[in-house]
């Protein structure tokens, strides 16, 4: 009997992992970055919905790891390996990091999208995880859904329809 497919939803500054046949989704990414890290051979994939580039920005005592690029990527990799993924098989896909906010105020949130993308890219590079595909930047929101069985990432926007990377 085949297991029914469940869609696991990841909220803002949250992360989770799935195994085939389940898929994982996060909705309404703006300047946030959705990073998918997966082991295609073993059918395991994880997704983090990251808000900010670096945990050194935190002004809280307890850091919410999935909120920041550096801590989220590391924690997601750890979670995947615990679930049976092979470190050397891991690959990544990215989406989001749009520049939603155009107002000029000298505020840091102006460039937060590109900074999030840079931070995730750098952390993945440090962990030697190759980025297979990405759809980042621009100025529109994205919903993404990853299927570890095919390794494909579905990207949906309000004005440009759907595509796969």
């Amino acid at each position: 009997m085949t297991k029914l497919q469940t869609i696991v939803k990841v909220g803002i500054s949250d992360m989770n992992i799935v195994q085939t046949p389940d898929v994982i989704r996060t909705s309404g990414l703006g300047s946030c970055v959705g990073v998918v890290i997966y082991d295609a051979r073993n059918g395991i994939g994880g997704l983090a919905h990251i808000m900010l580039p670096d945990s050194s920005l935190a002004k809280q005592k307890n850091i919410h790891v999935a909120k920041y690029a550096d801590t989220a990527v590391a924690a997601l990799v750890e979670k995947l390996i615990l679930a049976g993924a092979r470190k050397y098989k891991l690959q990544a896909k990215l989406a989001g990091g749009a520049q939603m906010f155009q107002l000029s105020s000298g505020s840091d949130i102006m460039r937060i999208g590109p900074r999030n993308v840079d931070a995730v890219t750098e952390k993945l590079h440090e962990l030697r995880i190759p980025i297979i595909a990405s759809d980042v930047g621009g100025n529109c929101g994205r919903t993404i859904e990853f299927d570890p069985e095919t390794g494909k990432l579905l990207i949906r926007t309000v004005n440009q329809g759907e595509s796969y990377i």
């Binding site: 803002i12 949250d14 309404g28 990414l29 703006g30 939603m100 105020s105 949130i109 929101g141 994205r142």
Partner: protein, 211 residues
Amino acid sequence: MEPNKLSEWQKEILQEVGNIGAGNAATSLSVLLNERIDMQIPSVQVVPFEDVVDLVGGPEQPMVAILFQIQGDTAGMVYFLLTREEANYLIHKLFPDAEGEVDFQTVPNDMLLSVLQEAGNIIVGSYLTALSDFINIHIHPSVPQVLMDMAGAILSIGLMELSPYTDDAIIIDTKMNDVGEANKMSGQILLLPTPDSFKKIFQALGVSDHD
């Protein structure tokens, strides 16, 4: 201050603050449309980031937002939120000669955009002016930006600034709608102040941080 440490008493004060702003904004909208506008008592909610989008129908809900940064003595973001239909109703009611309609597929023409920006200016401007007078601090809105996109992408902009401090947002939510025959217009104003600004609000009103 941590949003989840907000006392009931402090919540009531924020609700009153919201009430005063909303009353003024509803009056402005009513004058603009020449219709009677009803306003619900604003709600003050402390919500985890991921639940903020549920206040407007979920992260993927397409919406028309006119957003402003709060400038002056405190910081934060104010949203005036509309559905596509409401935005078009507002535009054509204010400016019957405007050509075309806004939708999520095409970039709206400058005329449609400026009508929306101007309506936002008037409504949010009167909202913030009322707050400013009541609290006796100096705040004013930035120039407006119109966004037509998914709720998650739009609301996360306001959460970014709070994000280093907290995992919960304090949101003052106001809903307005017209009454009578038309019944085509409703709008929602969301105020997302930074944690720092609550201190200033409570101080200015002479309310202790620790009640």
